[in-house]
Amino acid sequence: MSRGRDAQGLLLAAALGALAVLWLLPVVWVVVTSLKPTANIIRVPPEWIPWPATLEHYVEVLFSSSRTARIGRAFVNSLVVSLGTVILVVGTSALAAYPLARMRFPGKTFVFSVIVGSLMIPNAVVLVPQYVLVQRLGWLSTYQGLIVPEAAVTFAFGVFLLRQFFLTIPHELEDAALIDGANTWQVFARIVVPLSQPVLAALAIFAFRSAWNDFLWPLIAVNKAEMFPLPVALALLRGAYSSESYGPIMAGAALSALPLLIVFLIANRRIVEGVRLSGLKG
């Protein structure tokens, strides 16, 4: 029985290991290619060890004076936009989700239905009205013009996710705080938010990832090269008509994946916990 279980465990580990290798292979290929001199990139058979290795592509994408590749600046832009989006999404979603989960007021179900219903509207449909709105606000090519619409995209999902989680928090905890003299805001800030850290972390990651990877909105809403975020700046590395420069593209891709990787490594446990507790896969 024990031997059978061991064999089963080994089999499972081997399958998971194979799956991990399969997932990691493209990532490794990106890093390996980014370290190869241009002449060695397209070589048959392909070489998995980048020798001689070079950092020339990283230098080019980070410090090139060419107007096609302002990756360093784009990196900063993406960080500002993504962090700004996270703060806005987490703050507004939590404030909206709490009354929807815990308070009684007329039209509550309707408001929740409208918010959840908005998840079904494709982004392309709102693109033009959103553009006109941002233009009239004078926000084109600004950080707020990127952050607010990005946050709006994730807001509905955030409200849904947090409401589901807030519903699982025992009422007794809030009742006890109210008996102790806390007002509604204090209950929210001192009881509900600290208890919701895993799900808030999960939402933060979703919002960060969404803002970090978005391409279409920044492409449309930014008219100044120095305001481009990473996905748009990376697209500029691609030659017109697919005459690719693989080295800089791979170096840019490797660099752009770093922050997401770091955030995930730091918050890995909380993300998994948040998803588990809220019963959602995102």
């Binding site: 500029l236 030659g239 017109a240 008509y241 005459s243």
Partner: protein
């Protein structure tokens, strides 16, 4: 407060205000003149990658010579068109944009582009006689002009010396043999195809979906996407079906790479012998030190037509008229047309204007010489706003033919039905 007001008579106030207004107007005069000499214009194009760097150099030179600054925004072509479609109606478009010829009809009919009147062209020295007909006509739609052609990206035949030598396909002069017919091309390709080496490919990446290659073959067979009156699709006609059947034979006979492969990478790696692809590839092949020669696109059907897609300068409709910016934009178009030989030499694109064609630096280059020799055979897409939408529908259908999923006739009939259903 009221006492101070009382101390200023109406006459004093009016005189003072007039003096201030006059001083402001006088002060504005020289500033406006300075702005005219040093205008800054915005310029959107899809010249990402290596050709974008060449454009940067030329624009720097232009700014030094004229004092006009250009703020470029370069984004991949497909994204550029989406951005133009949204930004221009909102009054946020650029002062100047470079687009492909086939985009002119739909942008013109959508009101995205401004009409260019003949006097604006002639007063700046742009004359039909200086251009080959395909490039000059490409800038018009329904009798009105919307653009001025810069250059002519086009197809040509690349021949890989290493692969052809291994297959015994070099001539007595040591140069690769050039196929003279469809049968000869297939036979030579079969001779080269072995293992992971292919004899013939068309398109840079994803050959199965390469509409520009498919159009080239259609045009060679006297067929086209639309009928001559542009009202219906002509793709179900026998000439188009014949092309589709030939398209299907590439992969079925194992002479061409798989549908999603990169012909460019295969050619550089010495795994592809003959390659019909865009002129924009040859500078990269030289950089990669590939041993190759170039030849005109062979006549595979009835006529030796060569696909081309001139880049066109256009004026997206602005929010308000700005004569200084428009003048500056015209100055740039004129300057680029006069200096287009530099663009040709560095970016590898033949100029639309004939003036640079006699430049000895260009005529001495073997590849540029081939490109220029094709001038009489250049053809562009049909001038209908439905062309781009039809092209988007074509991509998956020709791929299904390429991989043998659908017979040529059925696929073309289906595609024609889809195109006919597009809104007029």
């Amino acid at each position: 407060m009221s006492e101070r007001h009382a101390g200023v008579s109406r006459r004093t106030f009016v005189t003072g205000a007039a003096a201030a207004a006059g001083a402001t107007w006088l002060a504005r005069g020289p500033r406006r003149a300075a702005a005219q000499t040093k205008a800054t214009i915005t310029y959107w194009n899809g010249l990402t990658g290596a050709d974008g760097k060449v454009m940067d150099e030329l624009i720097d030179q232009f700014t030094k010579e004229t004092g006009i600054k250009i703020e470029q925004q370069r984004i991949p072509w497909a994204d550029l068109y989406a951005k133009l479609q949204v930004s221009v109606p909102a009054g946020e478009g650029p002062d100047l944009a470079l687009i492909h010829t086939v985009e002119v009809p739909h942008f013109a009919s959508d009101g995205v582009l401004e009409v260019i009147d003949d006097s604006a062209m002639s007063s700046r020295g742009f004359r039909a006689a200086d251009y080959l007909p395909a490039t000059w006509q490409g800038g018009t739609f329904e009798g009105k002009r919307y653009s001025v052609a810069l250059d002519v990206p086009q197809h040509l035949l690349y021949l890989n010396v290493k692969v052809m030598k291994e297959a015994g396909l070099l001539g007595a002069d040591g140069r690769p043999k050039v196929p003279a017919s469809r049968d000869e091309l297939v036979q030579m390709a079969k001779q080269m195809a072995k293992g992971d080496t292919f004899g013939f490919g068309i398109g840079t990446v994803a050959p199965g979906r390469y509409t520009w290659g498919f159009h080239n073959l259609l045009w060679q067979n006297g067929a086209n996407v639309f009928t001559a009156d542009l009202k219906r699709s002509a793709l179900a006609e026998p000439a188009a079906v014949e092309v589709a059947d030939f398209w299907a034979s590439f992969f079925a006979q194992k002479i061409s790479p798989p549908s999603n492969a990169s012909c460019r990478d295969a050619f550089i790696a010495g795994k592809l012998g003959m390659w019909i692809a865009g002129s924009w590839n040859f500078t990269g092949l030289r950089e990669a030190k590939v041993d190759f020669t170039a030849a005109p696109v062979p006549r595979l059907f009835k006529q030796p037509v060569v696909w081309s897609m001139p880049h066109q300068f256009t004026f997206p409709k602005p929010k308000g008229a700005d004569a200084a910016k428009r003048d500056a934009a015209w100055t740039h178009i004129r300057w680029m047309t006069d200096h287009v030989a530099e663009w040709t030499l560095k970016a590898g694109q033949i100029s639309a204007s004939r003036k640079a064609h006699a430049d000895p630096r260009i005529t001495a280059d073997p590849v540029l010489k081939v490109l220029m020799s094709q001038g009489a055979n250049w053809q562009v897409g049909q001038p209908t706003p439905r062309w781009v939408a039809a092209e988007n529908l074509t991509r998956p259908v020709i791929e299904s033919v390429y991989i043998g999923q659908k017979p040529g006739k059925a696929a073309m009939e289906d595609l024609a039905r889809q195109i006919n259903a597009l809104p007029a």
